[in-house]
């Protein structure tokens, strides 16, 4: 029974349902009769469900205790013990290696007690390659890069090629949301000609910002502006992918706008899909170019660095405080709904990708995820969804008026 639960857990992880997979694995691991290589395999899969280093190290230690001769576990443990504690993201897939290729590796080189075949789930992984069939982390796979790192190309998005820049040394790239839209995978190209698979890990559509994770170690980052203002007429330089440079100025305007936007004199016809870093005359990174245009003239706006860093900090906090969250492709938020078996993103209500083509039935137990049980009951219909401008969000009843005054 426990063995079957572990199989189901692995299957869930292979399908991208990390929360459910981790839950099943924990249930299976509660059975003390699960020991030796099988226990080690389960713990190795469990390690793949979270990104924080301490958790992985702990899993691998337990796995090694269960199967001391397992060189694979030892190699993973050695790798992760040498990593900084900050979240590093999922391991990159090996280039040219598909999930089905790795299936053979898993069976061939895995622990002596092997799990039954799971051909169906592997066929549905869509190239998602985390899991013990992924070779152990190899420092060489986290590529050290050199040369110009002030900008990158972000290719393969639906609106054409865009640009971006590194935000963190562990390979987090900022680009415009307009570049990636609902896509989760793009190609990140360095000025040196190196190209990497990038995974969109978070997006902030309201700021036209997307964060893309690339398996690289960046030696130097740009100097980020410490001020939240760019003086009118100040010189700005946008570095677009391919090395194209646009010299312009911050446009002077009387128009009141949110602090995080600043106007430029750059026209949308002269730029790519967006995301280019904008530097000032001293080479300090002051913002990111977007394709959002002014209402009164044909020039684009930049997103200020302070907001980009604020979004980065928000994402890092989310990473530290949530587990097994998945990116909602519609709104860019991290959704934990699938941890509870719920179909819809709790931020925007869209159907999560793993449930898109499955029959969906009514779920009473997930109502609290969507704020349906947080407000006082409507005096008219009893719904606890809350109100907007004093009107019940379900029935439109004006909650400020006595019920006998309304029809």
């Amino acid at each position: 029974m426990s063995r079957q639960t572990i199989e189901q857990g692995i299957q869930a992880i292979q399908n991208g349902q990390h929360g459910e997979g981790a839950r099943l694995l924990r249930i299976g691991l509660n059975d003390d009769t699960i020991s030796g290589p099988l226990r080690a395999v389960a713990l190795m899969w469990l390690a793949e469900t979270r990104e924080d280093v301490a958790f992985r190290v702990d899993c691998y230690r337990q796995a090694l205790a269960a199967d001391p001769g397992n060189a694979d576990v030892q190699q993973r443990l050695n790798y992760w013990q040498n990593q900084p504690p900050a979240p590093l993201g999922s391991m990159p897939p090996l280039s040219g290696q598909s999930a089905s290729d790795m299936r053979d590796d898993y069976q061939g080189s895995g622990p002596t007690e092997r799990m039954p075949p799971m051909q169906d789930t592997l066929a549905n992984t869509g190239g998602y390659t985390i899991g013990p069939q992924t070779p152990p982390p190899n420092p060489q796979l986290t590529n050290r890069i050199s040369g110009d790192t002030r900008f990158v190309g972000v290719w393969g998005g639906p609106n054409g090629d865009g640009s971006g820049f590194f935000l963190t040394q562990n390979g987090l790239v900022a680009t415009a949301r307009n570049v990636v839209r609902e896509q989760t995978k793009v190609t990140v190209a360095l000025p040196s000609g190196q190209q990497f698979n990038g995974h969109v890990v978070r997006a902030f559509p309201v700021y036209d910002l997307a964060l893309v994770k690339v398996p690289v170690q960046v030696p130097t980052l740009p100097i980020f502006s410490q001020t939240d203002a760019i003086p009118p007429e100040a010189l700005i330089v946008a570095l677009l992918h391919g090395g194209r440079t646009i010299r312009s100025k911050r446009r002077r305007t009387q128009h009141q706008m949110a602090d995080h936007w600043f106007p430029t004199l750059i026209t949308p016809e002269t730029i790519d899909a967006g995301g280019a870093p904008i530097y000032d005359a001293q080479g300090v990174l002051v913002g990111m170019l977007t394709r959002n245009v002014s209402r009164t003239n044909n020039t684009v706006y930049g997103l200020h660095t302070f907001m980009i860093q604020r979004c980065l900090a928000f994402y890092q906090r989310e990473q530290a405080t949530t587990s097994n969250a998945v990116l909602c492709q519609s709104c860019g938020a991290l959704s934990q709904a699938s941890n509870y078996g719920a179909y819809y993103c709790e931020t925007c209500g869209t159907v999560l990708p793993q449930f898109e083509n499955r029959p969906r039935t009514r779920q009473e137990q997930t109502a609290s995820l969507y704020g349906d049980e947080q407000a006082a009951p409507c005096p008219h219909c009893g719904a606890r969804i809350g109100t907007y401008e004093d009107y019940c969000l379900r029935c439109g009843y004006d909650v400020t008026r006595p019920i006998n005054e309304q029809v």
Binding site: Y344, C348, G349, R362, Y370, D372, G396
Partner: protein, 153 residues
């Protein structure tokens, strides 16, 4: 007339179009006299298509005359309104010549066009289209989100 719009006295055009609608209802096997329902201004009919209730109005708003087909689909469920409202908006984008809306606690599927130029073929097409949408969507939405079919328990 639906959703509380202001109305003016009926005109000849309205009566002519009301006759057209009655002949259409007859042609699809309905008894117009039985389907007729009271309307303060203009004409209205109500009939069942599959699981859906269809209401047809020939009416006037200020100086413009309209042909409207409305199908109340279901009473909103008390929970999961965020994903449900989103779904309705997504469906709105995919429907042809029809839209979904919420009035009080009921979801409607709705279409409207000016009476001018309306002929029997087009009226028939509109009624059939709304009926088909309503019949398809009501069960689909209820099974996924709950709530209850309009006027059913």
């Amino acid at each position: 007339m639906v959703f509380g719009r202001r109305q003016n006295p009926r005109s000849i055009t309205i009566e002519q179009n009301a006759q057209t609608v009655e002949s259409i209802l007859q042609s699809i096997g309905l008894d117009p006299a039985q389907a007729r329902m009271p309307a303060r201004h203009g004409y209205a009919w109500k009939f069942q298509r599959g699981s859906a209730m269809i209401e047809v109005y020939v009416s006037q708003t200020e100086d413009r005359e309209y042909f409207q087909v409305v199908a109340p689909i279901l009473h909103l469920p008390p929970t999961h309104l965020l994903p449900l409202y989103r779904r309705l908006l997504e469906l709105n984008l995919s429907l042809t010549n029809a839209s979904l809306g919420v009035y009080l606690d009921v979801i409607y599927i709705f279409t409207e066009r000016p009476l001018a130029g309306l002929d029997a073929n087009e009226a028939n097409f509109i009624i059939s289209q709304i009926s088909a949408y309503a019949d398809e969507l009501d069960n689909q939405l209820v099974s996924e989100f709950g709530g209850r079919l309009y006027s059913q328990v």
